[in-house]
């Protein structure tokens, strides 16, 4: 009885969250599955259309384009961000004077709101008067039109993603701090150089953190939206039309909520499949202390 009362008290304490989760997450989640099989424009009752939305997806060139763009972004930006995050963490793990300041400096961009960052980057990447092309001009190079050029817009967003690498860097740093010093001392005694220590101690010991950041990074990449919405609106020529952005347009621009729900479920299944695939590789390269 006491145990029940104790649990009840706990549930009561988290009941505001539970209610919010049920109403704003669980219910829409379940409803979207049903709506994926309907024609629905938000204001009139949904009409059952069977699998028509899913069939339309297969025919829709923009669906495939947005999926391809998202996969390209995830495939390049996530590994790049991981390499940059680990590299930075290794550099900022050194014991030198003023290190706390350096760490803060690299972490700060992570806490700047994405919208503000995006607006600033629109100017930084301006072809004519932007900071990047001004610097390139000093070196005698005429930089590309970046966000306005279909060939460079995706690259611009991928490079921009490095701006907020401080978030994952902090997690890597915490992971580095957890590596027992004794391992390095033993390696030094055995004559291991810096590369050998990094290759055989640091990276394996850091692999659980790398795995965590990989999974989170992939999930976030599949949901990439804000920067593209603010900076390019999916253009030029659909070069930055990401999956989540196209889904948003179908839902709120074309009021095609049934189609958007179908897209959302395809995205959900995709994310689950990719995450499951990553977990299948877990045993092969992630060090498990247990």
């Amino acid at each position: 009885m006491n145990a029940i009362r104790r649990h009840l008290a706990g549930y009561l304490f988290i009941s505001p969250w539970l209610a919010g989760f049920a109403v704003f997450t669980l219910l829409p989640f379940v409803a979207s599955f049903f709506l994926g099989f309907c024609r629905y424009n938000v204001v009139t009752p949904p009409v059952w259309v069977g699998t028509a939305n899913y069939e339309e997806l297969l025919r829709d060139p923009l669906f495939w384009r947005s999926l391809a763009n998202t996969l390209i972004y995830a495939g390049v930006a996530v590994p790049l961000g991981m390499a940059a995050g680990v590299g930075l963490a290794l550099l900022l793990n050194a014991e030198i004077r003023g290190m706390a300041v350096y760490r803060t400096v690299f972490f700060l961009p992570h806490i700047v709101p994405v919208v503000a960052t995006s607006v600033v980057f629109v100017w930084i990447l301006n072809p004519d008067i932007g900071l990047v092309n001004s610097l390139l001009r000093l070196a005698g190079i005429r930089g590309p039109a970046w966000l306005a050029d279909p060939n460079w817009a995706m690259t611009s967003l991928i490079f921009m993603s490095l701006w907020a690498v401080g978030g994952s860097m902090v997690i890597y740093l915490a992971g580095l701090k957890d590596i027992p010093v004794a391992l390095y001392e033993a390696a030094v005694v055995d004559g291991a150089g810096i590369w050998a220590r990094t290759r055989h101690i640091t990276l394996p010991m850091l692999s659980p953190v790398i795995f965590f950041n990989l999974v989170m990074g992939v999930i976030h990449s599949f949901q990439y939206f804000t920067q593209a919405y603010i900076m390019t609106q999916g253009g030029p020529q659909d070069a930055t039309l990401f999956y989540a952005l196209y889904l948003f347009y179908r839902a709120w621009r074309y009021l095609d909520m049934g189609y958007a729900s179908a897209m959302a479920w395809v995205l959900f299944v995709l994310i689950m499949l990719v995450t499951a695939a990553l977990f299948r590789t877990h045993k092969r390269w992630v060090y498990d202390a247990a």
């Binding site: 204001v43 025919r59 005429r142 306005a148 030029p236 020529q237 009021l255």
Partner: protein, 459 residues
Amino acid sequence: MPREVQTVRSGWRRRAAAIAAGVLAAGLALLLAAVCAAPGPRRRAHPDRIPVHFWHMWTADWKAVVERIVAEFNASQTRYEVIPLSVPSASADSKFLLAVAGGAPPDLMAQWNQVIPAWADSGLLMELDQFMTPEEWTRFQAEVYPVALKIGRYKGHLYGLCTAVSIWACYYRPDHFREAGLDPDAFPETLEGLWAIGRTLERRAEDGRLVRMGFLPQWLNMYAPIFGGGFWDEAASRAVVDTPANLRALAFLAECRKALGFNEVVRFESSLNQGQGGNVDWPFISGRYSIVVDGQWRVEQLARNAPDLEYRAAPIPPPTGGKRHAGWSNGNFMIIPKGAAHPEGAWEFAKFWAGWGDPARAAEFCTWGGWLPLWPPVAEAPAYRAFLAKHPAFGTFLDVLPSENIVPSPPVPYQVFLNDQIGRVDDYAMRGTKTPEAALRGGQAELNAELARRRRFGL
């Protein structure tokens, strides 16, 4: 570590923690005070009257104008109280839809987005002609400017009452003309002539970068009607993309881009602040454009932001064989959602603003906002004549307004999709990625696919 050092450090930490807690408490107290001191929801000035909740999307100076008009209405009668609410334009449509779906829509909304066909088709809007007698409806259709009627009408009914119409024309800089040895009083009569003069006015840096655009014809939506084309086949009552006239328009625009350099134009345009929302940094003011096509609202903005700037306005000249006083248009219009609690009050206010029965009053409102009116009596009112005398450039837009060749977007429920496709066609041709023929063909194919999809879904 010596015990004394540890004691000193622990004392310092306690003090730091105490200071941090004090700062936090002071911050919270300040926040609480600010929340308490903040003004609550505005009290109703006339609680005994029927409330009319009115949403609009104007901000800054224009919001003040709207509130002034509302105040005039509230002072003009004793039955209704209009309560205005400015909603952010970026989310106004979705907010409206959710309000309608939630059963709590406003009584009236001022819009300028292309929403009428889609929303009317979904049964969200009231037919405004039901508020008129048959005689009034007939007279209304005969008296308003043609484009104002086209903007608000869908399938034979009026869903949006225009309070102002937007017209685009050429703004040009006489000082640039003189500098290039041209006569500013002899504005070209043809589009080809205007393009040629634009090239004379163009300036480039030593490395070839465009630093001043003479004239850049752009936007297929605007130029298709000028070339005798468009995206609405009136006879067949259907939307079209790939037509011979549209091809002529797109080919002309693409040729101009090619001559300027596709990439150069992209770079030039990205470096400009478009001066939206009445900004003082409109590139025309700073001299980055010698001739630019823009709307009539710039006249009032120029008077306010650049009173000493010498400029003139002229209609976009037609190409050889094209149409005079033609182009695309939209406007500000009032819609009443189904489910509105007080549609009669909403209609009364909409009529009041549009100048129904009192054009002199609407003329005043138009001069406050720098707007083109719904019908000729407003334009002929003394207040509007005085405004025209003060801002002669405005007369150009008023001259174009009655033209039958000014058209809004096609009245189809998939208007947003269609406009996106037209934009896509335009972009492909303007970047030189596709030929105008291929771009239009692709646009038509996309439109056909969408129509087929709609048929499959029973729409």
